[in-house]
């Protein structure tokens, strides 16, 4: 009896979640954020100083008012389209859309991609680009790409060419000091600078 009640409650909760998901989609949240941005621009513009040298509020107000007007029109249009059951028109984008996949799979893989990107960025902070990027590449290529160890290591090592030589030594991008370099007081870029010092660039 208690189990039946618990199951019914769980089912009711799931129904509520599903209904909420149908109504509050990610796109609705995105639209709400856009509205917030445009209103915020107008409000902030009203608080900006206006001098005889210039009016810094003119552009934000201009963009905010246009944006808010379009936001209202777009949401009304979306509502009418939904109520009439019409399909949205296709867009001309630079590329093509992911088709034929379940939303759950897309979600899981999206989370996975952002997860590995975030982990790589943390790796860069800890180890510097010189180590974090090749390590990321080697592990991805070996464990997800399923390619041979030596090929993965070779590609990872080759990545040092753009990082250390091209960006680091030739166009002098200053890589930030990583936690590892700070602790052990050394620079991973130094060998590349040393090896390329005679080049005429």
């Amino acid at each position: 009896m208690a189990n039946d009640t618990a199951n019914a409650e769980r089912k009711g909760l799931l129904d509520v979640i599903r209904t909420t998901q149908r109504i509050i989609t990610l796109d609705i949240i995105f639209r709400a954020l856009l509205g917030f941005v445009f209103v915020g621009m107008i409000v902030a513009a009203n608080g900006m100083p206006k001098t005889s040298f210039g009016d810094p509020s003119a552009y934000p107000r201009f963009v905010g008012v246009i944006g808010l007007t379009l936001w209202v029109a777009s949401n009304l249009n979306e509502l009418v389209t939904q109520l009439r059951g019409k399909q949205q028109g296709r867009i001309y984008d630079i590329t093509f859309q992911t088709t034929g996949m379940s939303p759950l799979v897309i979600w899981m893989r999206t989370g996975w991609v952002f997860g590995i990107m975030g982990a790589t960025i943390v790796g860069v902070w800890l180890l510097n680009f010189h180590l974090a990027i090749p390590l990321f590449l080697i592990s991805y290529l070996r464990f997800i790409g399923k390619i041979k160890w030596w090929v993965a290591i070779l590609i990872g090592a080759l990545m040092e060419l753009p990082i250390g030589v091209l960006y680091g030594a030739l166009i002098h991008v200053v890589w930030p000091e990583s936690v590892l370099e700070r602790v052990f007081d050394f620079s991973l870029q130094a060998p590349f600078d040393y090896l390329t010092r005679g080049l005429p660039f």
């Binding site: 902030a44 810094p56 379009l70 867009i91 093509f96 990107m117 960025i121 680009f129 997800i144 990545m159």
Partner: protein, 526 residues
Amino acid sequence: MGVIEAAMAGLSDMANPVVILAILGGAVVGLASGALPATGLPGIIVLISLAVYMDPVVAVALAMGMAAPVQSSDTLPSVLLGVPGSVSSQATIIDGYPMARQGRAGEALGAAYLASLIGGVVAAVLIALVMPMARGVVNLFASPEFLVMALMGVVVVAVVSGGAMLKGLMAATLGMAIASVGTDPGLGLPRFVPDSVPYLLGGFNLIIVVIGIFALPEIMGLIIENRSIATDVSAEDAVRDINEGRWEGMRSVMRNKFLVVRSVALGVIVGIMPGIGGSVVDWLTYAQARATEKGAAESFGTGDIRGVIAPESANNATSAAQLIPTLALGIPGGAYQAVYLGFFLLLGFQPGPRFLNDNMDIVFLIVFSLLLANVFGTIMLLFLSKYFAKIAFISPHVLAPVILSILLVAAFTSKNSYWDLGFLMIVSLVGWHMKRYGWPRPPLIIGFVLGPILERYLSRVLGSYDNLFDAFTRPPSLIIVAVALAIAFYSAKLARESKTSAALLVKKAEAGVADDAAPRVPAGGA
């Protein structure tokens, strides 16, 4: 600077071996990018992140070297695999893919390469002819006209964003809003910058915005789809006939010279009009060839070489012609041109009247670079197609992490700060959402690039006029508005027509070949 003087200066820049090497290097990257769907823009962005550190002349040569041959190598996957290399090579599939299945891949590719070369060369020459004349016209404009033109540029691109006009306009406005973050250009006061994030005082960097909105979502798409674009055939089978009949294909182009002339002319016209560009021109030229060529109504869709020649002549011409409004007016015709406009701004050039008055030599450098890159690209494709074609067979799980790594490094170089990477994650979330939920992304980039230009002219106009209405109702401004509206309506009409043609033609092509061999014409483009 006089026109002859500028042309000679441009030519003398080409005598520098580093410039020639840059064009050659750019062309190789461009060819590789075109052969692999979804990597065109990431490739350009990585090049731009490098180019901003170079001598501007070498940087321009590198970027143009890459821009020119992309539209030539994107034919490889279209013909060999029935998958478009880019949105402007979709119509080529309809006849190119059946030709490949009949063992005539080399003939189709030979014709496509020569047609592309002709289109690219004609459009480059046209740039050289039009720019000096445009200088005279553009010099007549004042701040109100430039304000109206920048606004109309955003509006036209957004209006032709397919079936999502309001979304396109809103995306453009979001781009303009992102551009307002940073320091107010008039008084130097911080604007929308939290005290804890001084990184934002310089505003968002173009490289971060373009990588986040376009490049990373494309790479994420590759990982998420998790399949090589070449799924049905092996690399060996696909490239078996690639070198057979190339010269016969090129002779076919010469036999159909009037079709080439018509297609190039249409490509140039579409390129000059902001907004529509590559995603439409191949269908338009294909449809006009089908309607005007003898016997085409029956033979198109079954492997008629004229169905390859028409779109391929036009798409290269369009791509080069789109540089005309970008350089002369500072109004980009599409996402790629917005990136190029931003690139010129990063190099310190200001496309528009000042660019035409002070940097006419750079205009000629662009023309010569495009010419040379088109020739380099065609020669390389004629002899190395086999190798470029094999790029399409690389697994996304090998390709994606390599591109992702290079993009992360390129993103960091924009301001050399960890904030670069943090904001890249946020912007790429927005880009992925827009891609996933059908928000047009090109208007956002155009709004972002045009934002500071709009602000500058808005401030000047408000300083000289009592209200915007007075500025907008000046006769030249009214003419610009009328022309822009006419272009918007005409572009929307062309886009609608091309969509109808595309649907009909794809249906016919799918009916003409066996189910397992049907070309994979994508959802987004047509």
